[in-house]
Amino acid sequence: MESQVFLNKVYAPSGDVVAREVAGEFIIVPIASGVGDMEDEIFSLNETGKSIWDKLSPAKSLKDVARELSVEFEGPLAKIEKDCVGLVQELLKRKIVIEKGKK
């Protein structure tokens, strides 16, 4: 089932994963069990995903993240918000990010 993601909520990387940059690839390695579907999976993010990931923080709502990116990349806010929701949806279902509650 699709995870519900809202722009006014805060999403942050789970403590159960480690993000690493290895030879130009951005990868996320599970530490604790329960991340992803299979035990020996790792994850990589595309360029857009990586830019959003870098901004995720327990101190910012997803809307804040999108706003910052829209200023930084001078891109349309609506499209960037859509990307943020899309990425977080994928990460949430794999338990790579956690929802920190309403801001």
């Binding site: 130009g24 599970p30 530490i31 790792i42 990589s44 993010l45």
Partner: protein, 394 residues
């Protein structure tokens, strides 16, 4: 319309992760100790578990962590903890957790005798992402302990294996083909097929045993030699599943078999490496010749990988017998001859290992790559031989 995806999933250890560059180091072996609580008759490395001197010389917890940190900074994705018996170290769990928290996949070679409920709980909570590899020395107490020479080791090992099974920890098993257990291969393989889902075929066996890799025990070397299968017996083990063996060799031959010329290293030694229990970085798990190793106490992994090992890999053989035979022999690849094996057998880097030469020729004769009395290094049209062999399978 196809939905945009931001995350792609990869399986650790499978090719295709690196589209751009390759890391300086992709995997590392760490021999945490040479000590072992078993005393296997065929073992090339073990020191007694109570060897105080060896224990004192071993890397401290902090020193191991420093090496792991550097490995990760060089892009390393996997570390394999081996020994001796790595679980003998009191800080094993701490090192394991440290490695995993750095984002490393951890593989472990173990005899399983020291696996505890606490360790299994840790592996459940923080999975290794790689297999635990357990060597099984026998299916019966009599055979198992005839190999390990430690009373009670059979029960301890099976207790460990059952803990892994009960808690669904991913592990694989392998065997060691020895006179003491060779009649139990069928029972071992049937048990493995029914119980170890991670295995995608029968377990692998150590077959052509190595001599002591520190060249430290002539009497033990005599014992190991007496346990080795003859080339004919080795072949019988390999071809028990004849079709699979021949198919595998066809794929292997077309990719890897060719004369190596006078270059000593035609393998991957030195592209990664193995840190021994005392902080000496070897180009591979077996090669401990003093001229081939790098002391990490006086340097670092990067310097070894970018400076010392690449120079070492350029070394050329000087032994006239090697130049006459191995340099021109297309069985290189099928034959396990390499600088590490020459070091263990003769204390040199480039002496052809008679035992391995015999084993390789026996296999090549069976596969039809050479004639009955032919020596592989005399075959000029070796590519034609390989092509004909590979074509047979199509």
């Amino acid at each position: 319309m196809r939905r945009k995806t931001y995350v792609s999933t990869q399986v650790f250890g499978k090719a295709g992760l690196f589209r751009k560059l390759r890391p300086v180091l992709s995997s590392l072996d760490m021999e945490l100790t040479e000590r072992c609580n078993n005393n296997c008759i065929h073992c090339c490395i073990n020191l007694p578990s109570h060897d105080a001197l060896a224990r004192k010389r071993e890397l401290s917890t902090e020193a191991v962590k420093k090496i792991l940190r550097e490995a990760v900074s060089l892009g390393c994705l996997s570390v394999r903890f081996t020994g001796g018996e790595p679980l003998l170290r009191g800080d094993f769990q701490e090192l394991y957790l440290f490695a995993r928290k750095l984002g490393l996949r951890v593989l472990v070679f173990t005899n399983a005798t020291l696996i505890t409920p606490g360790l299994v709980a840790l592996w459940c909570r923080v999975p290794p992402l790689g297999d635990i590899e357990v060597t099984v020395y026998g299916m019966k107490k009599s055979s198992y302990e005839a190999v390990t020479r430690v009373p009670g080791s059979y029960e301890a090992a099976w207790r460990g294996i059952h803990l892994l099974l009960k808690n669904k920890i991913h592990f694989v098993v392998k065997g060691a083909f020895l006179p003491q257990n060779k009649d139990e291969m069928g029972a071992f393989e049937a048990w493995a097929a029914a119980n170890v889902p991670q295995l995608d075929g029968p377990p692998a066996y150590s077959l052509y045993f190595d001599l002591r890799c520190r060249r430290d025990d002539a009497a033990k070397n005599r014992l190991i030699k007496s346990l080795r299968p003859s080339p004919e017996e080795g072949l019988r083990v390999l071809v028990r599943q004849k079709d699979k063996y021949v198919k595998g060799m066809q794929a292997f031959c077309s990719k890897f078999m060719r004369p190596s010329g006078e270059k000593l290293f035609s393998c991957g030694a030195g592209c990664g490496g193995c840190v021994d229990a005392y902080g000496v970085f070897q180009p591979c798990m077996m090669l401990r010749h003093p001229d081939c190793v790098y002391d990490l106490k006086k340097g670092n992994l990067r310097d070894a990988l970018e400076g010392f090992f690449p120079k070492l890999r350029e070394t050329k053989a000087a032994n006239p017998e090697f130049l006459r035979r191995c340099a021109r022999c297309f069985l290189k690849g099928l034959c396990e001859q390499c600088p590490a094996k020459a070091w263990m057998e003769y204390g040199t880097l480039d002496t052809p290992v008679a035992y391995l030469c015999g084993a390789a020729h026996e296999q090549a004769r069976f596969l039809g790559l050479i004639g009955k009395k032919e020596k592989a290094w005399t075959v000029n049209d070796w590519q034609g031989r390989i092509d004909a062999f590979v074509k047979k399978g199509r």
